[in-house]
Point group: C2
Chain length 304, copies 2
């Protein structure tokens, strides 16, 4: 499947309706790396009924116990950090679940949701995220439908994404993405998509934390014109004010990205898909294969 | 006080022996922004007996309740996000504590540790961090003494820091700092010190997560030579192997930073201080005032 075809599957992924049965628990721990880990990051920002703790490492925290819902996410099912963390969680009698398309993780005896294989992990974000949303948030059908519609529209018209990609390409810019709650993790998702799809270094940060550090160099850093600041528009007046004032006092003109949609679910997926197309177009302009992650595979082999 | 004099106070700060009395709790929530927020970030990486949740925003998660130890950290005591979060926590009957040098936060009736005023918040990291360490970890006297000794040595000899600063200055490089557990937060601390002290944009990331995204562009990104990769050496073989292999397959030569010390506390403070001097020297070379954060102050006024 071509990468552009992978992108067309996202709209259907939001209709993926599997969920876990969970018992009594007082905290959730989600383990996952890279493209699989993003699902946990996004979920942890939109759910706060119980503490959600993310593990993107080999080891799990001491507090994991039999009151912990532990969810291991690995698209391939063979991510060594996630396998290691899951084994530790099982030893501590956590209630371990898994989301994977196969691999070792699917054979460890955990309560597992199997998702379709054949995609890049980062192109399966709907399959990876929706089981979390279905289990703990239970979205309205209308919200899922709205997300489906917005994703379909983005598939048909992504001229704005293409135009931003051109600007970045022409200036050989270093993309920096600024989000704000509840889209901090999406800003990070864009950073990783720039990395993996377009093979350019990119960074993300978020309001208002960045007003306590990035703000100083935004005015007087060297190489300032080499950066390209993409900022998600916020309908929270506390953040929108900070964005406007930051632009003004640092003498920058941010490229604002409108967040379309009315439900949170639709907004999240709309923004995700915007970043998918933006980085896909940049890959095309650069003449690099957006699917190619051979270096990451090579690294996995060398350290195994 | 000159910035260089502020740096000389750090060794004494690690001997700051105040702590909170805590009752029964099942989770810890720490609120703080920027230079004050770093203390929570560092603490959350070295303590895992109970879940630690960080708040760097106006609002607190729904799960905050009367079993929550809530610690508000604001050097000035006037950080609007932290004040807002603390008020919300008090309403939810969390056990609220504060660490501050004064301001509104000191007058809100919380159980408060007052720390010396007159420093930049980022230069008071010892005062901000040690109450957390003293309360929940209880360091050995020998570890505190080791940290004191290493910091004193760094105060007397920071030639290596100066030499790295020169390289970065001469190439007008964009610093990127790669850490690994338990020093991920220190990598972020360095990023913020580059921002606030030297007024240059800088970024941080950590192993092994970065092997799932940054690794691709590390080989073929445009502008590759403009970056300067600082990597903390790790004595965890899983990370040290990843560092070596990443360098090799991406064709980069990282500037490795040795982590001196034997106790974790000493290592943490040694690395913090290394970054302090490195960014201070870069500020000097650039001819900018490391103490100047007038833009951040201006922003605070404009949004108030």
């Amino acid at each position: 499947m071509q990468f552009s075809e992978e992108l067309l599957t996202l709209k259907d992924q939001v209709r993926f309706d599997k969920s876990f049965k969970v018992g009594k628990y007082d905290k959730i721990v989600i383990a996952g790396m890279g493209g699989s880990g993003i699902a946990g990051r996004i979920f942890s920002e939109i759910y706060d009924e119980k503490p959600v703790f993310l593990v993107d490492d080999y080891d799990i925290p001491s507090f994991v116990d039999d009151k912990t819902e532990f969810i291991a996410i690995s698209y391939s099912g063979n991510t060594e950090e996630t396998i290691s963390a899951s084994e530790e969680a099982a030893k501590k009698h956590a209630n371990v679940h898994a989301i994977t398309s196969g691999g070792s993780l699917s054979k460890m005896g955990f309560d597992t949701i199997i998702i379709p294989s054949g995609l890049q992990p980062r192109s399966s974000i709907g399959y990876l995220l929706m089981p979390l949303v279905n289990t703990f948030i239970k979205p309205k059908i209308g919200d899922v439908d709205e997300a489906y519609r917005l994703l379909s529209e983005t598939d048909k018209d992504n001229e704005e994404e293409k135009s931003i990609a051109s600007e970045i390409y022409n200036g050989e810019h270093i993309p920096v993405i600024y989000g704000s709650r509840p889209f901090r993790a999406i800003a990070y998702r864009w950073k990783t998509q720039f990395n993996e799809n377009a093979k350019v270094l990119a960074y993300s940060n978020y309001f208002s934390e960045l007003n306590h550090n990035d703000t100083m160099p935004l005015k007087d850093t060297y190489r300032k014109d080499e950066f390209y600041f993409l900022v998600f528009r916020s309908d929270d007046s506390r953040f929108s004010k900070r964005i406007t004032v930051t632009e003004k006092i640092t003498g920058n003109s941010f490229r604002m990205v409108d967040v379309r949609g009315s439900s949170l679910l639709a907004k999240l997926f709309y923004l995700i898909h915007f970043g998918d197309y933006l980085t896909y177009h940049l890959a095309e302009l650069r003449g690099v294969d957006p699917q190619d992650v051979s270096l990451i595979e090579k690294l996995k082999k060398e350290i195994a």
